[in-house]
Amino acid sequence: MSTEAHAENLIAADWEGGSLPYRVGHKKLGMWLFIVSDALTFTALLMGYSYVRASSEQWPEPFKFSPSILFSTVMTLCLLASSFTMVMAVKASARKDRKHTRRWIMATMLGGLLFLGLHITEWKHLIDEGLTPKSLPAEWVKEWPKASYLFGSTFFAITGLHMFHVFTGVCYLGFIALRVRRMSHEDVEISGLYWHFVDLVWMFVFPMIYLLSVYRGH
């Protein structure tokens, strides 16, 4: 019996195991398991944020629709667009079109870098206003006298960790783009999985941190 035919016999129905229970490579399975555990990290952070917000008497709602919300919407669009270019990179890699794979990955990195640049600008504005992990700006305290400084702690912790993930993702994609000739299709696909996950997390951070803290006036 040839190896192929033997392996064919070992492949069983869904959920029955067999020689290839998931029919994906070990690297891809590893990335999926990492994504699940990392998703739980972000869930824990967002739940912690919801907890302190629900248990606080007052919570600052400082983001004016223009410019803050519009600014973070542009950041969201950057990430969504970069997710799409990553899909195109994976498609090009499936055709073994190395040149276009590299170009699409570069476009994805550009989207990621744009996101990082905008995010750092926004952080700088908030820090200049006086927001730190341990204190609120004086004007905010005047407007929301009962608010706790936990706003700053949760804001910097959650967006900071997400920013770190974007930064890691850009480095990872850069490595893949540099060595794209030696990478298999699955390697490109796995880097894509990571990048989409970063996008996915932002789809929860953006509404929960920004949109729910839109300035409502008094």
Partner: protein, 202 residues
């Protein structure tokens, strides 16, 4: 086939049945708990009661997966989800449905549209509880679209989906156990004047 081999084969078949029967019974027990909670919890629409119902239903659903797939394999009812492995030519090298550019552009369009709706909600300053509900709902739809299409999970084997998603969903639901406590601790706060003097000096 030797006799020993045959005995093992029979034993294996029985083990299959026994494990699935146990799973099925446990699923029934959890369904009973969910129903009991519904009937005897008194006020049903509280965070606690809803939490218990959700967890019991989730556990029942997960325990049902294996018996249902087993029944399906033995031809008790038609296959609902997943590719039919018996008729599909088996590929040793993992092969993926590639998806057309048009499909992915469509998904991107949906994601942009849902984001637009979310931003519009912020613009019109919808009341915060309603806004929270809609935002989480829309975000879940967006997450599902990204996972299913961009991350290709829709085109993977059913076993991979069943390994990853239920565990994640159950763990996330378990986090909700903290919320009754957060509401309670709000009522245990200092009075407004006291907390005011606290925040004034960071």
């Amino acid at each position: 086939m030797s006799r020993l081999e045959e005995t093992f084969k029979n034993l294996w078949a029985k083990e299959d049945v026994i494990i699935n029967a146990i799973c099925f019974l446990m699923a029934l027990v959890f369904l009973y708990f969910a129903a009991a909670n519904l009937i005897w919890a008194g006020d049903f629409l509280t965070t606690d009661a809803l939490f218990m119902t959700v967890v019991f239903l989730l556990l029942a659903g997960v325990l049902m997966i294996s018996p249902l797939l087993w029944l399906q394999k033995h031809g008790y009812f038609k296959k609902l989800v997943g590719a039919d492995v018996d008729t599909e030519p088996v590929e040793l090298v993992p092969v993926h449905f590639e998806g057309t550019t048009r499909l992915f552009a469509g998904i991107l369009g949906w994601l942009l549209g849902l984001t637009f709706i979310e931003v519009v909600l912020a613009y019109f300053q919808v009341p915060i509880i309603l806004m929270l509900t809609i935002l989480i709902g829309l975000s879940l739809v967006k997450a599902a679209l990204i996972i299913a299409y961009f991350m290709h999970l829709k085109f993977e084997r059913l076993s991979l989906v069943l390994t990853l998603i239920p565990a994640l969903v159950i763990c996330i639901c378990l986090f909700f156990i903290f919320f009754p406590d957060s509401m309670r601790s709000k009522n245990l706060r200092y009075s407004a004047t006291e907390s005011q003097s606290q925040t004034a000096e960071p």
